[in-house]
Symmetry: C3
Subunit: 350 residues, 3 copies
C-alpha cells in the first residue's frame, strides 16, 4: 500500500528527452515523454487495445502510436485514432497522471485529490544559483522505507562508509528528533571531531571540525540533509558557517513495487562550484557510498522477505525513524481507514 495523494519523483529531468521513457512507479507501468512545448507527460504504459506497452511504439507529434496496431494516444491518455476505422470506440483511453518538472526531477501525482504543486518537497538546491548540481538515480531492490530509514539513522556511516563520510563521531553523538510542519527533523551536531575522508580535502581545515547533519524527512519518502563542517569553535552551531563547507544530500525515494524502489539523489554544494574535476571526484565517492548502502539494503530486504515475522528491536538512534513511521502510518490510515493498519506488520508496533 502506497501513499497516493502526494508527489513522487519519477525521473531525472534529463532522462525524459526525445524518446519514450518507461518506468514502473508504485506498481503502475508509466510512460513519460516530452511534448513539443517541453512539458512532460505521464500516461499508462499499456495500450488499451491489446495491452502492448506503449513504450514499444513511437512518438508522433505530441501523441504516442502503439507499436502493435497503431492506435494513437494523446497527452491525456485519450485514444485519438484507430487505424482502419473512422471513429474511436467509447472507453478507448489509458490512464494519465499529472506530471511536473521541479528541482531536477519529474514529479507525478498518483492520487484522486487535486494535485497541489506547493506540496512538492523543497529540493531547490539541486538547481539553485550558487550551487553546483549533481543528481542521479539508483535502482534498489528494497522497500522504499528501508532507504529512508537508512537516511534517518546515519550512525550506519560509522560502519558502512568509513572510506568516505563515516567517522566515529556519528555513532557517538546523540540525535535530537522533533516533528515539524514538514514532517520530522533529526539533528546531530558533532563538535570537535575529525573530518571524515571525503570531506577532509574539501577545505584547509586547521584541525578538528564541528560537523552537522540536519535531516528533514517529508512524506512520503523525501529526505533532505543539510550537511557540512567548519573549523571547530568558529560558530557553526550558532549559524556562522563562514569557516566551513556545506552541501545538501537530496533524496527522493519512489516505490517501484512493494519491495523495490527508485532512489533519486542529489548532492549540490555551494563551494568551488565551477571545479568540474572536484565534482567528478565527489560524484565517484558518493556513488561508491550509495552502492554500499544498496548492498546493505538489498541484503536487509532479502532477510525480511525470508522471514517477515522475525522479531526486531529498536535502539536510541531509531528515534527519527520511529517518528517517520508513525507519521506515514497515520497518513495511510487516513487514506484507507482500517486498511492503514495493514501496513503495521511491516512497521511493527511503535
Amino acid at each position: 500500500m502506497f501513499l497516493k495523494n502526494c508527489w513522487y519523483a519519477a525521473a531525472l529531468d534529463r532522462e525524459v528527452g526525445d524518446g519514450l521513457l518507461a518506468r514502473t512507479i508504485c506498481n503502475e507501468p508509466m510512460l513519460m515523454f516530452r511534448k513539443a512545448d517541453g512539458s512532460v507527460v505521464a500516461i499508462e504504459d499499456r495500450c488499451c487495445h491489446r495491452s502492448l506497452p506503449l513504450s514499444l511504439g513511437k512518438r508522433v507529434g505530441d501523441t504516442v502510436q502503439c507499436g502493435y496496431h497503431g492506435l494513437q494516444f494523446d497527452a491525456k491518455g485519450e485514444c485519438i485514432k484507430v487505424p482502419g476505422q473512422n471513429s474511436v470506440p467509447p472507453g478507448a483511453k489509458v490512464q494519465s497522471w499529472p506530471a511536473v518538472e521541479r528541482h531536477g526531477y519529474v514529479w507525478v501525482w498518483l492520487g484522486e485529490e487535486t494535485p497541489d504543486e506547493a506540496k512538492i518537497p523543497d529540493m531547490h538546491w539541486n538547481c539553485a544559483p550558487g550551487w553546483a548540481p549533481m543528481t542521479d538515480v539508483l535502482h534498489v531492490k528494497a522497500h522504499h522505507r528501508l532507504v529512508t530509514d537508512n537516511l534517518l539513522d546515519l550512525t550506519h556511516e560509522t560502519y558502512i562508509h568509513l572510506q568516505t563520510i563515516g567517522n566515529r563521531a556519528v555513532v557517538e553523538t546523540p540525535i535530537k528528533t522533533k516533528r515539524d510542519p514538514n514532517g520530522v527533523l533529526v539533528t546531530r551536531w558533532m563538535l570537535g571531531c575529525e573530518p571524515p575522508p571525503m570531506w577532509k580535502p574539501l577545505r584547509p581545515f586547521v584541525g578538528a571540525v564541528d560537523r552537522w547533519q540536519l535531516i528533514q524527512f517529508t512524506p512520503p519518502a523525501n529526505v533532505v540533509i543539510d550537511v557540512g563542517m567548519a573549523d571547530a569553535g568558529t560558530g557553526a552551531p550558532e549559524g556562522d558557517r563562514s569557516k566551513g563547507v556545506q552541501g545538501r544530500v537530496i533524496n527522493a525515494v519512489t516505490p517501484e513495487t512493494e519491495t523495490t524502489c527508485w532512489y533519486f539523489w542529489g548532492f549540490p554544494r555551494d563551494f568551488k562550484i565551477d571545479d568540474a574535476q572536484l565534482t567528478e571526484k565527489l560524484r565517484a565517492q558518493i556513488v561508491h557510498t550509495f552502492n554500499e548502502d544498496k548492498a546493505a539494503l538489498e541484503a536487509q530486504q532479502a532477510a525480511i522477505d525470508r522471514n517477515p515475522a522475525a522479531p526486531t528491536i529498536d535502539i536510541n538512534a531509531d528515534a527519527g525513524i520511529l517518528q517517520s513511521w508513525r507519521l506515514v502510518e497515520t497518513m495511510l490510515e487516513r487514506q484507507e481507514p482500517g486498511l492503514g493498519a495493514a501496513a503495521k506488520p511491516f512497521l511493527r508496533e511503535i
Copy 2:
C-alpha cells in the same frame, strides 16, 4: 484450460530422429521417439518409479530405458521390465498419446475421445509436390491464443513488419469475416497497392499489385494464410493468379503451458521452388519477421500477467479474432460444462 479432443503439433518431423525428444505439450511432459518401423511414439516423460524424466534414459529397441534404475517402457507406456526382479508391479505404466506424422509435423491427441486423423488441419502445402518446403518452430513466452490473435489481425504488419511484409495497404483495407465449416475465414484484398519489401523482388511486377491475405483459422490454434500478389488488374480476385506469386503461411500453435507456446510455422511457395538461395533469403526474412512478433507477444503477455484485469477494448480489425474466441469458448464449454466459462476472464465478454 486447453481444448483436449483435438490434434496439437508437437514436433517438426525432422526433430524426431534417432534420439529422445522431450517437450512439454499442454502442461504434459512428453517424450517422443521413433520406432524401428519409423512411426513416432509419444509417452509421458516421467518414470512411474521415481519420477526421473525418461528422456534422460536411452532407447533400447522400441522401448525406453529409464536412466536411473533401468525400468523399461514400451511404445504404449507399459513398463515391460524392472531390473532385478522377475515381475512387473501392477500399475507400472506411464501415459501415452496417439501420435501421427502429417504435413511435416508430428501431431498428438490429448483427449479421451477416439482420435480422428481426418481432423488434422490441412497443411499439405508444407510437403506438396510443386511447393518449396520451409518449416521451423519457435518458442514464445505468450499464451498460444495471443499468437493466433496476431495472425487473425494482420494490420500489425503495417507497424511491426515494415521491413519485410508490411505496407500501408494492410491497415487501410478492411477485412471480411465469416464462420465456415473449418472455423473462421478472414479475407483481405488490397487492390492496386505497393508490394512490400520482401515480396517486391520475387517477380518483376510492372507496378502496383493486387495483394491478398485469406486467413483460415481452425481450432484449437491453427492458421493457414493464403498469401500472394499479382500485377494489379490482372484478375487475381477473380481467380487468375498467373501474373503473380503465392505462398502459404502455415501456423500450428501449441500450448506448452498456460502462458508459453510452441509456434510451428511453414512458408511453402509454388514459384522458383528449386532456388535454394532464394529459400535461404526468404527464410532469413521470415525468421526476422517472426522474431519481431515474438518480441511483441512476450511484452504483451508480460503486461497481461502484470494486471490481468486491466480493461481493454476491441476494434474493427478484431472481427476475426472475436469469432475465433467465440468458437473456442463454445468448444471449451462443451468440453467442460460450467468450467468453460473459466476461460472467459482471459477472453473477456465478446
Copy 3:
C-alpha cells in the same frame, strides 16, 4: 517439516576458518565462526535490530559486529553492545545453536531437547589413523531424502555410474534389509563379479571379485556405506578382507530448504593412504560420480515439483528406502503429533 532433535552436518571443519561462514540449515539462516579457543559457534545470521545478515559484519574477538549499525553479539547470540547508548535493550539477542566438531564436519542441533553428542553418527573413518581422508560438500537442488533414497538403492550405479563404480552385478544382486538400533541396514554381496572401472586398478585382482555394499542409514539423513572388494572366494563374506581393498562412503545430507540440501560426503580408504596422486585421481572420479547423481536428483526434484501428485510405484530394490521412510515418518509423527502425517504426501503410503 524437518526432524529437529538431531544433529545436522552444517559445514566441513575446514570451511570454518578465521572469517564468517553463512549457510542456511533447515531454513534457518546460520552464521558460523571460530572463537579464539578454536571452538565453533553457530548463531542466527540476522541482526535483531534491522535484519541485516550478521555475516556482512565482522568478527571482533569472540563476538560479531553487525555491519549496519555496529551492534555486537556474543557466541550465545546475546547482544552485548549497542553503539551510542549505555544499555542493551531487553530482548536484544539472536538465536544460537549447539555446535560440535566431529569426524571432519561441524554438527549443529536444532531441537529443543538437550543435545546429546552420543547421537552424532559414527563417521570416524573420516579422521581415523590408518585411513586416508577425503571430504567435500556439494549443493543439490533436491529434497535431502531424495539423496538418501539414492544411497539406499545403489542399483542406479548400473545405469548412472558405469564409468566409475557401476557394474551389472549391482542391479542383478538382491539386497537384504533390516532395521537395527542405528536405523536401517541394507546389505548386498556380489560374489564373483567383474570389478567396476574405478576399483579395478586399485589392486592387482587376479580375476573376479567378491564385492560388498553394507549400507547403514541413520536418521535424519546419514548414510555410511562399507564398500570394497576382494579376490573372489578368499573369504571376504566371512570377514577376511586381506585379499581386498575397502573404503567407506560417508554421507551426511542436510536440508537447506524443503527442496534443496547440502550433501557432505567423505570417501576414506585404508590402503595406499599416503599415495596423494591416487587420492586426487579417486577424488576426480568420485566428484564425477556425485555430479552424475546431482544431475539426476535435480531432474527428479523438478519433475516432482511439476506434479507432486503424479502416481509412482515401488520395486524390490526400494526395500531399504521404504524402511528409512517408515522410520523417519514415525519420528516426525512423534515430534509433531498429527502433523507428522503432513509429511506423508511426499512419502506416499508405505
